[in-house]
Each structure stands twice: as structure tokens, then as C-alpha cells.
């Protein structure tokens, strides 16, 4: 079974700083890598995703950097805000089933 290894487990950043979360994955034939954001008491929601034809995807303050050869991708949150405090999960496809394998999660706390 493919694994997705996520780090760090927790992260504390000052308001206005940059938050960086990393993920590494094993072999996959389907290069679609989403990041999910989960607030306490809520289900995860898709934040941003990247496909293999680009090395970087930016949406507002959120950027995914993708390194296919290294099988790594990372989430960068620029100008981090207290409202960004949540748990973030990277994921990778499990074959062509539609299933996702999730990383272990990173709990981000942005201090005011």
C-alpha cells in the first residue's frame, strides 16, 4: 500500500510568517495531489491541488510546490493568519480507484 509521509506533525507560526508543510509519496501512476484543510469539529475540505504538468500551483496565499522526480510536494502558506489555524492533510491517489491515501496531518497554529 502506498504511503504518504507528512511533516511536521505540528507547526507554530507567527502571524504574517510563512508556514511550510511537506509530503513525500511512493510510486503512483496518477499524479494528482490535493491538500485538505480541517477545522475542529468539521470534516476536511479541499484547499488546493496540483497536477503533474506544473511544478507549482498558487491560489491566493496558498502555494503547492511539486517535485515529481523526488516524489515530494509541499504546501506554503504565505502571510499566515490566525484563521489559517487548522489541521492540514496532504493526499495521494491510490491507484485508479478514486480512493485517496492521506498523510498523517499537520496541526498549524498561527499566533496573533
Amino acid at each position: 500500500q502506498q504511503q504518504v509521509k507528512q511533516s511536521p506533525q505540528s507547526l507554530i507560526v507567527q502571524k504574517g510568517g510563512i508556514s511550510i508543510i511537506n509530503c513525500a509519496y511512493e510510486n503512483t501512476a496518477f499524479d494528482y495531489f490535493p491538500w485538505y484543510q480541517q477545522f475542529p469539529g468539521k470534516g476536511p475540505a479541499l484547499l488546493i491541488a496540483i497536477r503533474p504538468d506544473v511544478s507549482e500551483k498558487k491560489e491566493g496565499r496558498f502555494t503547492i510546490s511539486f517535485n515529481k522526480s523526488a516524489k515530494q510536494f509541499s504546501l506554503h502558506i504565505m502571510d499566515s493568519q490566525p484563521g489559517d489555524s487548522a489541521t492540514y492533510f496532504c493526499a495521494a491517489p491510490s491507484g485508479n480507484t478514486g480512493k485517496l491515501i492521506f498523510g498523517q496531518g499537520t496541526t498549524l497554529q498561527v499566533k496573533p
Partner: protein, 116 residues
């Protein structure tokens, strides 16, 4: 409004009771999933369904069972609840597409189950 619903949101129950966690989606999605998640921890897939009358076990072994009689409804049942079943259960759905790329999974708010 298209959405995915889970009931109950919270459930506290005694050992040995039979429980059913409800999940419904109004998006017409073919694929549905059940995940188990301890607070702030990794999501573990316990069941998934490709469509009506199609259910399979996920990567994490679970004593629960599921059914998919209608596209929009994917209930999860525990015949005899135990304290080890205490966890959060998340339901999700996604769209069936004949493409190489996978689709976004939409999650419900979850059911937090406590078995005493």
C-alpha cells in the same frame, strides 16, 4: 443546495448497543467513503462504494458494515458497540469520471461516537 449530511453529530452509547450512522449526499455522486479519525489524527478509510449495491472494505479493518441501496445514502452500522469503537466517523463522496485524474472528495461534518 448540494451537500453531504451526517447524523447524528454526536452519539454517546453503552457497550453492546447496535448503532447506525447515517450519511446522505445530494450531489448525485457515485463514489462514497467512510473514514475513521481520532481527533487531529490521520484519516483511515474503512469502507467505500463505487455505486449502488457496490461496497468494499477499506484499508483499516473495521467491525462495522455498510450498505448502498440508494445512490444518495450510505449508512454505517455497528452491531455491538465497544469502547474501542470510540472515534470520529467521517463520510465523503466524489464523482465518477472516466479520466486519469481523481476527483475532489466532499466530506460531511462527521459523527463523534463515544462508547461507554
Amino acid at each position: 443546495e448540494a451537500d453531504i449530511y451526517q447524523t447524528p453529530r454526536y452519539l454517546v452509547i453503552g457497550t453492546g448497543k447496535k448503532i447506525t450512522l447515517e450519511c446522505s449526499q445530494t450531489m448525485g455522486h457515485d463514489k462514497m467513503y467512510w473514514y475513521q479519525q481520532d481527533p487531529g489524527m490521520e484519516l483511515h478509510l474503512i469502507h467505500y462504494s463505487y455505486g449502488v449495491n457496490s461496497t468494499e472494505k477499506g484499508d483499516l479493518s473495521s467491525e462495522s458494515t455498510v450498505s448502498r441501496i440508494r445512490t444518495e445514502h450510505f449508512p454505517l452500522t455497528l452491531e455491538s458497540a465497544r469502547p474501542s469503537h470510540t472515534s470520529q466517523y467521517l463520510c465523503a463522496s466524489s464523482e465518477e469520471r472516466q479520466t486519469r485524474y481523481l476527483n475532489e472528495q466532499f466530506f460531511g461534518p462527521g459523527t463523534r461516537l463515544t462508547v461507554l
